[in-house]
């Protein structure tokens, strides 16, 4: 299971970075989204994956005797998903606004010369 997750994380990171380096603004955003997903699955992998053992100590024991599913990475992933969702929605609106102003999806055209604001 870990090998599959490692392969998936690698795929997400590499495709995310590849898309970020494209000329199109939308692909830049898609790359950022994929990168964020890769980071989230990495956090999931880093809490040792234990199938079917909830983090609850049984009644007659006072400490954990076996491997349990770590709840901390799950809360980290949730927080990271929510934060990246907020950032991505801002980025989408920003891209829409830039498209309305420049009528082009090409990042190379975003080079207004010296303008005094």
């Amino acid at each position: 299971m870990e090998y599959l997750l490692i392969f998936l994380i690698g795929l997400l990171y590499s495709s995310g970075i590849y898309l970020m380096l494209r000329k199109s603004m939308v692909k830049l955003l898609l790359g950022l989204i994929l990168l964020g997903n890769g980071a989230n699955i990495l956090i999931f992998l880093m809490g040792d994956i234990a199938k079917g053992h909830p983090p609850i100590i049984s009644k007659d024991a006072s400490i954990f005797t076996q491997m349990y599913a770590d709840p901390v990475p799950q809360s980290l992933i949730l927080t990271a998903i929510v934060i990246s969702f907020g950032l991505q929605s801002f980025a989408i609106i920003l891209l829409k606004r830039v498209y309305q102003m420049t009528r082009s999806d090409n990042l190379d055209t975003l080079n207004t010369q010296e303008v005094d604001i």
Binding site: M20, A39, L45, M46, A91, L94, V98, V115, D116, I117
Partner: protein, 500 residues
């Protein structure tokens, strides 16, 4: 010792921001609430600094869960100093923005967002848990995205795309580094990490993780080769917003690097060499980038980068003298960079342009303002006895002690480059005659007197703070020496957090 005063800087800014949202659209109410909020935040920060200085490290566990299981807020001298500097810079920027920001921006939530930004900064400086630091970083960057794009003109939007993309990438790299660190150690509390990281046998994994943190924080603090988003975006928003960004946001990245590389990871020789090499290149490329620019704002953006190199170099040297000089440099730099951009705002208000080809004759018309700006610029260059001189001497001495002669040469050359750039700007903007231009109104003289005062008072106030830092340097040196001592001896921090 536990003290609930810690949450007050964060809570004050949050409360003020929420009140400002309730007053959406009512500009005068917002101005009043914002100024009262800034003064309150300054008082709270002074109180926090005073308590931290006399009582030692203060901690607070959220929900009263004991460390390392709960989320800790820690105020050691470094955090309290930064919270105080944020409040001072925030007050200066807040006063200036009463006049310096256009009315439409004020109507669409500028004040509320800037208070959210300051709340995020306070939270980041007080965080004792590395994932909590990530959350506060995100609060700061999303507020900065809004501030960067508020107003919606084309150059701002273009700068914003680059800014947004690079900062989101930096967040993802930071998150990756946290994930790997959690996988290695099983904890997120900084004090606990400090103990557990020292016990890991596979030093290569630790080294790689620390370099991932360097990349993540390096993008935010504009280190070579990760800084190219800064000159493309910092010159686009209005001067007040650029002042907040230039004075506080990059320094937040440097603070995070200081925390990780003194508390959590102790840099080995390879990491130190990487830090020093990046610092040398940052100073050179930052200074050279400013040489051919004709807009004051672009020049100052490159000067931000150049001076970040000083701090990273000092961090790379990693001796007590070097770290003390880095902290002193940060204290001086936050005030000076904020003030520089506010001064640019005044120049823009008076002349209508920040292009040095169209400026001139400033010294003839406004001699007192020119003198004020001279104090700021000479502090930046490092003319004794102003505030920039003392940390540079500390850095020179530290690099001589460590026999890092290339770094010493880079420090000296970067100072000369800064001198050249400021001298060129001074000659063009202040001394040469005003070139003949088509009729342009001087917005500054049209303002009523109280508005003119509101523009000048923050610059004067911050310049007075700089003068105090320069002329009263022994006090600042006492603070920075104590901070450096706590950084080298991490046991003090760890015991304060884990044993209470």
């Amino acid at each position: 010792m536990t003290d609930n005063l810690l949450i007050l800087p964060i809570f004050t800014q949050l409360f003020v921001a929420v009140l400002l949202i309730f007053a959406w659209g009512h500009v005068n109410t917002q101005r009043v609430i914002s100024i009262v909020g800034h003064f309150t935040a300054l008082l709270v920060s002074i109180q926090l600094f005073y308590k931290t200085w006399h009582a030692g490290i203060l901690t607070m566990q959220a929900g009263n869960w004991k460390a390392p299981f709960g989320i800790t807020f820690v105020s050691d001298t470094l955090s309290a100093t930064f919270v105080l500097l944020t409040a001072i810079a925030g007050l200066g920027v807040g006063l200036f923005s009463m006049v310096g920001i256009s009315r439409s921006r004020m109507q669409y939530g500028y004040y509320a967002i800037s208070h959210f930004l300051l709340m995020g900064l306070n939270g980041a400086f007080l965080a004792g848990d590395i994932f909590n630091l990530y959350v506060w970083f995100e609060i700061v960057i999303i507020s900065s995205f809004v501030l960067m794009t508020l107003g919606g003109k084309k150059p701002q939007m273009e700068g914003a795309i680059k800014y947004v993309a690079m900062n989101m990438l930096a967040s993802t790299v930071f998150l990756t580094a946290i994930a790997i660190l959690y996988g290695l150690t099983g904890t997120l509390n900084m004090a606990d990490l400090s103990q557990k990281v020292a016990q890991i046998e596979k030093k290569e994994l630790v080294s790689v993780t620390s370099l991932l943190f360097f990349v993540g924080f390096g993008i935010k603090s504009a280190v070579f080769p990760l800084y190219f988003w800064l000159p493309s975006s910092y010159h686009t928003p209005p001067s007040v917003i650029a002042a907040t960004f230039g004075g506080l946001l990059t320094k937040m990245g440097v603070y995070a690097m200081l925390r990780t590389f003194t508390l959590i990871f102790i840099p080995d020789t390879f990491t130190q060499n990487v830090l020093i090499a990046c610092a040398i290149l940052t100073m050179f490329t930052g200074a050279m980038g400013a040489l051919n620019k004709t807009s004051i704002r672009r020049m100052f953006s490159y000067l931000i980068i150049c001076h970040i190199g000083y701090m990273i170099g000092g961090l790379g040297l990693h001796t007590q003298v070097a770290l003390s000089a880095v902290v002193f440099y940060l204290i001086h730099d936050i005030i000076i960079k904020t003030n520089m951009f506010l001064a640019t705002g005044i120049i823009h208000k008076i002349r209508g342009s920040t292009d040095i080809r169209r400026l001139g004759g400033f010294y003839e018309e406004y001699p007192k303002l020119s003198l004020l700006m001279a104090i700021i610029f000479f502090s930046l260059i490092g003319v004794p006895p102003l505030s920039g001189f003392w940390p540079k001497i500390g850095l020179f001495r530290a690099s001589l002690d460590a026999k890092e002669y290339v770094l010493l040469g880079a420090f000296i050359l970067a100072s000369f480059f800064t001198l050249y750039i400021i001298a060129k700007m001074w000659a063009e903007v202040f001394w040469k005659d005003l070139p003949k231009r088509p009729e342009e109104t001087n917005e500054f003289t049209e303002l009523p007197f109280y508005k003119q005062t509101l523009l000048v008072v923050p610059v004067v106030g911050l310049a007075l703070v700089s003068l105090y830092i320069g002329l009263g340097a022994e006090n600042i040196l006492a603070v920075s020496n104590r901070i450096a001592l706590n950084m080298i001896d991490t046991g003090y921090y760890v015991n304060a957090v884990l044993n209470k």
